[in-house]
Amino acid sequence: MRVELREITKRFGSFTANDSISLTVEPGQIHCLLGENGAGKSTLMNVVFGLLHPDHGEILLDGEPVRFANSGEAVRRGIGMVHQHFMLVPVFSVAENVVLGFEPTKSLNRLDHDKARREIRELSERYGLDVDPDAVVETLPVGIQQRVEILKALSHDARLLILDEPTAVLTPQEIDALMGIMRSLAAAGTSILFITHKLKEVRAVADVITVIRQGRVIDSVSPETSEPDLAALMVGRSVSLTVAKDAVEVGGSSLELRDVVVRDDRGLVAVDHVSLSVREGEIVALAGVQGNGQTELAEAIAGMRHVESGQIVLGGRDITNRSPREILDEGLGHVPEDRHRDGLVLSMSISDNLVLNTPRRAPFARRGTRQLSAVADNARDLVQRFDIRTTGIDASASSLSGGNQQKVIVARELSRPLVAFMASQPTRGLDVGSIEYVHRQIVAERNAGRGVLIISSELDEVLALGDRIAVMYAGRITGVVDSSTSREDIGLLMAGAGREH
């Protein structure tokens, strides 16, 4: 299907999310929409999918202007969308999920399970999706769940498939498989709109790349364009994608894990005898697909989860099963994985959030009374030093963009005297400009002689930051390698192919 967008404009109040955007997707083309968070990509896709109505402009499908009242009409006209967060019923089977809302029936409205199963098997084979129609969705890995979403779109005869940040949750191998599927779909004539902010993927799979910045189309370029050039188009200035790291003399042990065992909320062993040492002046990056025990490990180090056995040592002092307060006071800086849940109080001001874990410390309090002028001075200083873009220090944390929220947490943690610094998914959901900034701060902390532990499921980040890379799979460290190791080898370790340790 040939899809043409003509001067699409969408405003929210005084904010223009899409400013007369025009682009054309040819039949069988993989068209990449590249842009930072907040550039207007998702808004544009919601317009195409009928979830939002454009203020101006029109959409043409095979030359015919259309106006969708809702997404159901878009689906009927052959548009399918796979959202970043899957919309599947976890306890239903693949077949049930795919037919949901359009169930084939036999006489007397009985569900026709066989027909559904047959259709899915057929589609799955045609495009090499390899999905079992009878599997229950919640038992499937994320990569397969995503294929179920794609199947769902295809079962409605989608001739334009919109993929919204589809790779955020996948391992490198799963990403490769997804790209294979995208290519075979395109070869069969399906048009694909692929939304992402990851440069490598764009170059690997796209036929055409349209770069969007601040709601406008900046340029349409070919996939041969180099990564730095793409990043510059996306951000509006040249950015360095690699972090400059000088050699630093590595000192003694900063943070050490000895045979640590931690259980998850269900009581299952999530961290299985993990030993790892982070030395002063060194960044250790802990790689691994989400859900392999990294979250539990980070919580245990921060004192928020019980350590069943083993020992955690911070700067020579045992912090195993001490309270979060004591561990903070011992000098652990911690950027939590979920910044909205653990890192910030969104309804409170930026200045309050900047002293969230030091409200009783001088000069922020004296004899139980908060010293608001000291709190404000601290906020003004950190907002300036860490380049937090805000309307003022009294603005609520919820008014900030994701990148600036993360800067608030990083600023708070790095402004305390630290022994070691731990950051979980430090750049998740951040734009390229903010990622560059946060990475520089992390490296600066290492250069200042602190031990740094980075926990990340982004392989690019792990490779860019880590002096050593530890890979975690199923609660164990499957390997500790140095930063020159190839992506493929690390990818294999992430999939559990490493030697027993």
Partner: protein, 420 residues
């Protein structure tokens, strides 16, 4: 990425903006609506008014006369409510011109303040707990225990007023802390739900109240009724204008004023109050920031229970000077009203002050209205409930005024997967 449309798309309805930006105006509108609803209740429950409407087709002037009867009845009810709780303009004029009758003129205001004082203190206690995300439903039992503590110290110890009065107030606070601490410890160490435990403790304390006023230690000598000894004059909160004035309003209002100042300082300026608020807004982040949930839970129950206890003893020290088996039972249960007052005042000390004054005025005025017009006191309760309902549920208001933005609602639904 798909959250982008959620954060920018919803255009806040004017009511929701009002709710977040101008709670005072919102409360004013809610009160106005409550009064309108009350007017309809009067109309539909007053036999005189209903009878007048039954005959509107019989003669030409009947509609006008029915309208007049309606307006007269509703007007009389609200006039009685106002003059009974605030001030009567005619009496005020009379006092100003003749210089006499001040007691009668000021009695309504004095009564409203007398009722508002303990209610205000208890509501601030509940409000502080709410701000921390703790639902202290046990304020009534804590207040009763405060009354018991105050009555015991006030009647059994005989020392000069400078020591006796503060000691009695302190005994009330301790009584409240004691009762609050049990659910606090249970929640902190066993995870027991505070709503269940505090609610049940109201019954425990109510039973203990009967036991204590029948005990030889506290019971009025020579009595077999459930009534306590009267506290010494040195433990009483004396009337502001002297016993001779006939006005009940007491020095208790200074205790209430001190509580407002304390609560403001505590929530806005103290480190512990900051930790309370952080815990209330985001318990996960509080824990990650090194704030011990256990400590906060116990501290909240001490502060909240202590204030409820203070409310109970202030009530006893400024009005009856003794307690009986019906102390803060039923309609007098300020600990329960405090929950709604805290809601109405959005848990802020000054907001709660206005809420307590309004509720006290509606209660006092309601009784005056009942005496003057025969309309039951329950009308005041209806207005109170309606006002709280409106303030507590801005969403319902948005529905009533059809302010829901259909488009944004659908987007929110569409962009939320089960992963988020």
């Amino acid at each position: 990425m798909s959250t982008e449309s959620i954060t920018t798309a919803p255009r806040a309805s004017w009511w929701r903006r009002l709710y977040t930006q101008s709670p005072t105006l919102l409360a004013g509108l809610a009160i106005a609506l409550g009064i309108v609803v009350g007017a309809f209740v009067i109309i539909f429950t007053s036999p005189v008014v209903l009878r007048s409407w039954r005959h509107i087709f019989s003669s030409g002037g009947a509609i006008l006369s029915a309208l007049k009867i309606t307006v007269d009845n509703v007007g009389a009810a609200y006039r009685a409510m106002f003059t009974g709780s605030v001030i009567s303009p005619t009496l005020l004029w009379h006092s100003l011109t003749t210089g006499h009758g001040w007691t009668t003129t000021l009695t309504p205001l004095s009564e409203t303040l007398t009722y508002a004082t303990p209610l205000l203190i208890a509501s601030i206690g509940v409000g502080i707990a709410f701000q921390t995300g703790i639902f202290n439903i046990g304020a009534n039992g804590q207040a009763q225990m405060g009354g018991i503590g105050g009555a015991a110290v006030g009647s059994m110890i005989h020392v000069p007023m400078v020591i006796h009065l503060p000691l009695t107030l302190l005994a009330g606070i301790l009584g409240g802390v004691l009762v609050g601490l049990v659910p606090g410890l249970l929640k902190a160490y066993t995870g027991a739900h505070e709503v269940i435990v505090t609610l049940m403790f109201n019954y425990v304390v109510a039973a203990f109240l009967i036991f204590s006023v029948l005990s030889t230690a506290l019971q009025q000598p020579g009595q077999s009724n459930d009534i306590s000894r009267t506290i010494d004059a040195s433990a009483q909160l004396p009337p502001l204008f002297g016993v001779a004035s006939g006005l009940r309003v007491s020095y208790g209002i200074f205790v209430a004023a001190a509580v407002i100042v304390f609560a403001w300082w505590f929530l806005e300026r103290s480190s512990l109050g900051f930790e309370f608020r952080v815990t209330g807004q985001n318990p996960q982040a509080a824990r990650a920031s090194g704030i011990s949930p256990r400590f906060i839970i116990i501290a909240v129950f001490c502060v909240s229970g202590g204030l409820a206890g203070l409310a109970g003893t202030v009530q006893m020290q400024s009005t009856t000077h003794y307690i009986d088996g019906g102390f803060l039972i039923g309609n007098a249960g300020i600990g329960f009203t405090a929950i709604t007052v805290a809601l109405l005042g959005r848990n802020k000390p000054v907001g709660i002050m206005w809420g307590a004054l309004l509720f006290a005025a509606l209660g006092v005025g309601g009784r005056a209205m009942q005496a003057a017009t025969g309309i039951p006191l329950d009308l005041a309760t209806i207005i109170q409930s309606f006002v709280v309902l409106l303030v507590a549920t801005p969403v319902m208001i948005t529905e009533i005024f059809r302010l829901r933005n259909v488009e944004t609602q659908r987007i929110q639904l569409a962009t939320q997967g089960w992963g988020s």
